[in-house]
Symmetry: C2
Subunit: 223 residues, 2 copies
Amino acid sequence: MKINVMQDVLQANDRIAGENRQLFKKNRNLVLNLMSSPGAGKTSLLEKTAEKLTGKLRLGVVVGDIETTRDADRIAKYHVPAIQLTTGTACHLDANMVASALPHLALDKIDVLVVENVGNLVCPAEFIVGEDFKIMILSVTEGDEKPLKYPLMFRESALMLINKVDLLQYTNFNLEEAKSNARKINPAIDIIEISCTKGTGLDKWIGWLNARYQKKLGDLTNA
Amino acid sequence: MKINVMQDVLQANDRIAGENRQLFKKNRNLVLNLMSSPGAGKTSLLEKTAEKLTGKLRLGVVVGDIETTRDADRIAKYHVPAIQLTTGTACHLDANMVASALPHLALDKIDVLVVENVGNLVCPAEFIVGEDFKIMILSVTEGDEKPLKYPLMFRESALMLINKVDLLQYTNFNLEEAKSNARKINPAIDIIEISCTKGTGLDKWIGWLNARYQKKLGDLTNA
């Protein structure tokens, strides 16, 4: 019975995610569902992304947090439309929560919409919100064994950004071990090493983002 | 209806937690429910604690992880009885999961039982497992605003250990801000700064633990 309740929840979620997806298609938005542990650097990545995309692609953000509007405030400083969803006790965003934010965004003036999920390496991976891709950040201070301990998130993600590589020398994090562990779970996962504070790898990340956006535009044109 | 389902789940959980608590009382165990984000240092703390308690108090551990038995293996090296619970998709431990581990532990030969929860700053705080205290680790690489963004965990915890203080100089983490934010949420919270890799603050932590254990023995004797 417990399982049935969860199945119903997921079916309802998938239906609403499908509606979100139609809306994104109509507005030609590339949509990314960004996930990580608390403090791995999701908002810092979005700040840097906003800087780098200025004059190139138009960014929009939906931010989920249990409480506070700090993250949306940080992003709004970059003149990026940002909607904060405070989830109360929910430890992840679902399709319906994201749907509730969409009327407040001018989707036709956005190229790339990033949904910054609640900081949590578990539950967010279970819910689609209408995204083209799930992507995730693993920070080097968290440990290189995390892909084995939280496999669903790594399995669902198209891209793993390894953040805070400037701190590598102060930790026992082994980069090759982390990559190998992630690929055991998901052989197709893309991996980019970055440091949001030092700027390392950010152009590579922007390149990844841009390629996915151009591909989506092409697919929509050919469809 | 969604709320009722959750109420039922929590009521059943509280009943089983009460049964666990009776068992712990009979065996004179101090029980701590240890929570944090992934990679904040729960297992490292338990390794150091095992070292420090040798010949003083007898430690036992129940470890929850989505997958793998790595953490229990790490702790077992210190000749501490450690039971690994792999939770599959569950993002937290509940009282029933912990109950399932207890027949595998000689509780009458344990003084302090630590339940190392799944790495998650959200859901674990919602479920009691029969513990005397919830305690938590915040690592300096996560950010000093976390108490405001994940308030329930900080509200429920008797003690916040601030770990990885050896990395403070490489981050923009403000210790006083973190403490002030935690006390806004929970004025009574105890706070100890530690570094598991450098050994900083560990004697203070052992002192906290020992005081709680002696207090519990006293309460049981006087009851």
